[in-house]
């Protein structure tokens, strides 16, 4: 063994014995984690620090320790991770095995992350997700700026395919909108990506009636993306000037909500003659949810009323002439 290699090995051993983050705490591991992941205990090597808001840094050689706060952007919530789309993964499936060494080297900190397309692009297995089209949309989007990538919105450690499996649409809408609000309602994060002035969502939407109801029942992207019929969620985020502002885009018989929020939900649980009935399962949109039976009945009653009035008038005129 060369002297330099021997020296490097000894140094590594010393470092790993003097700087220890903290011990694994297996009490935090829930049985549900093991049901979806075969690497739960291996992953704890990372979670013991990255799954906690604080970690203890111990220097054994000098017999000292310090409690450090984990940077929020480096935190991964175990519950969210083990229920996310990537729940079955080992941390080292995506991150270098060298991260097992602490402290992490500068080279590792510059590790280039995998992007969605690296695993999901041009692969028949994921063809129905249309990742290629999503990428094209993103490149045409206003979000296509420096240091902005898939992970800026979709945290791979917690991402859920909410809309595709939306049992609770309200929860899915909240999840989706929070993706936008993470930056658009937090100027510190927003300022990391752009030099633009702060956007105050409530003020910039002051033209929108019933703001709270709109924010809770539709996603930001309903108005802020261009309709794309082949992918579930449009990714071409439009500039503010091109966002939908016309009420009748949604509040009309041919509502755009059927091409966006309710696009792939063919299960219409409550028909009963309502137009765009799927919307009624979660909401009611004036103009979009007319009931054709009520419409027909109203025209019939209105017509009959006019007919009776017309006939009565005719008889009155006739009898008036007679008298």
């Amino acid at each position: 063994m060369k002297i330099s290699t021997l020296f490097a090995t000894i140094l590594l051993l010393i470092l790993s014995s003097t700087l220890i983050a903290q011990q694994n705490d297996t009490t935090k591991l829930k049985p549900s984690y093991y049901e979806v992941n075969d690497f739960v205990e291996d992953n704890e090597a990372c979670f013991k620090c990255h799954g906690e808001i604080k970690y203890t840094l111990e220097d054994i050689e000098n017999d000292r320790s310090a409690t450090k706060r984990m940077a929020p952007c480096k935190l991964v919530d175990r519950d969210k991770y083990y229920t996310s789309v990537h729940k079955s993964f080992s941390c080292t499936d995506c991150h270098s095995y060298e991260f097992m060494t602490f402290p992490h080297s500068m080279d590792l900190r510059f590790e280039e992350n995998f992007m969605c397309m690296d695993c999901h692009g041009y692969d028949e297995t994921y063809a129905h997700y249309h990742f290629e089209e999503i990428e094209t949309e993103f490149t045409e989007s206003i979000h296509n700026i420096a240091d902005f990538n898939c992970w800026s919105c979709h945290d791979p450690h917690s991402y859920k395919a909410f809309m595709r499996n939306a049992d609770d649409l309200e929860e899915a809408i909240l999840f989706d909108n929070n993706m936008c609000l993470r930056c658009h309602a937090d100027y510190d994060r927003f300022a990391q990506k752009t030099d633009r002035e702060e956007i105050v969502i409530v003020e910039s939407h002051d033209w929108l009636p019933n703001q709270a109801a709109h924010f809770a029942t539709v996603r930001c992207i309903e108005c802020h993306t261009e309709i794309n019929d082949s992918i579930l969620i449009a990714h071409k985020i439009l500039p503010k000037t091109e966002a939908v502002q016309r009420c009748t885009e949604c509040h009309s018989k041919d509502t755009r909500l059927m091409h966006t929020l309710y696009k792939f939900q063919s299960l219409e649980e409550r028909r009963g003659g309502f137009l765009n009935a799927i919307i009624i399962n979660d909401s009611y949109v004036i103009g979009a949810n007319q009931n054709i039976w009520l419409n027909r009945l109203s025209w019939l009653v209105f017509g009959m009323t006019l007919l009776v009035i017309g006939f009565h008038t005719f008889l009155r005129i006739k009898s008036h002439k007679k008298n």
């Binding site: 009420c247 004036i286 009520l294």
Partner: protein
């Protein structure tokens, strides 16, 4: 031909009535525009319809308050009381007059007097319109004006759906009431007699 004049409509009633009529007309027109909204350009834009509908709804609601208070504290409320007394025979008599008697030139079975402003059919329809229909319309309208405050589920359906369909049905029934009301107002001695009364306050009876 002698003409008898009875002062039946004091100024506050006439003012209330004209405000109510104008607000209700705008509400019907804008309500139809909202319900049948299209993505293209309609006669009235959706945004303008919402604004006008909201403004007129507030005016109508306040005006309704004036009507209720006015009826509580003036004699006008008496015209709406005891509407159930001997109801069906009276209704039938009035119905027969409208269906047959009116064409034969028969006299009105319930002539208008200072004590009896409405015939039985009018009385029942006004009581239902003003004391059942209007409160339902106003309550459901307020609910739709503040959709975020509505309960998510009422009778196992969406709160929004419940209030919207209720608002539509009551609004429609009251609109039909308005059409019939306008027509029956032509059934005075002359077609314009009753309209004139609502302007000058005097009911004219030609003998």
């Amino acid at each position: 031909m002698a003409t008898t004049k009875i002062y039946l409509y004091p100024v506050w009633i006439r003012l209330w009535h004209v405000i109510n009529a104008l607000a209700f007309l705008v509400l019907i027109i804008t309500g139809i525009a909202l319900h049948y909204a299209t993505s293209g350009k309609g006669i009235i834009s959706f945004e303008l319809s919402v604004t006008l509908h909201n403004i007129c709804a507030i005016i109508l609601s306040i005006n309704y308050g004036v009507f209720v208070l006015g009826n509580m504290f003036t004699g006008n409320g008496n015209y709406y009381r005891k509407w159930r007394k001997n109801l069906w025979p009276k209704l039938w008599k009035q119905f027969l007059f409208y269906a047959v008697g009116i064409f034969k030139g028969e006299p009105h079975p319930f002539p208008i007097t200072k004590k009896q402003k409405f015939n039985p059919l009018q009385k029942v329809s006004y009581v239902f319109a003003m004391y059942f229909g209007m409160p339902l319309l106003i309550i459901s309208g307020i609910a739709l004006m503040f959709p975020e405050k509505i309960s998510n589920s009422i009778f196992n359906i969406s709160g929004l759906l419940f209030y919207d369909v209720l608002h539509l049905i009551v609004g429609f029934v009251l609109s039909i009431f308005l059409v019939i009301h306008l027509y029956t107002c032509t059934l005075g001695d002359k077609p314009g007699t009753l309209f004139k009364s609502m302007i000058n306050g005097y009911h004219e009876e030609h003998e």
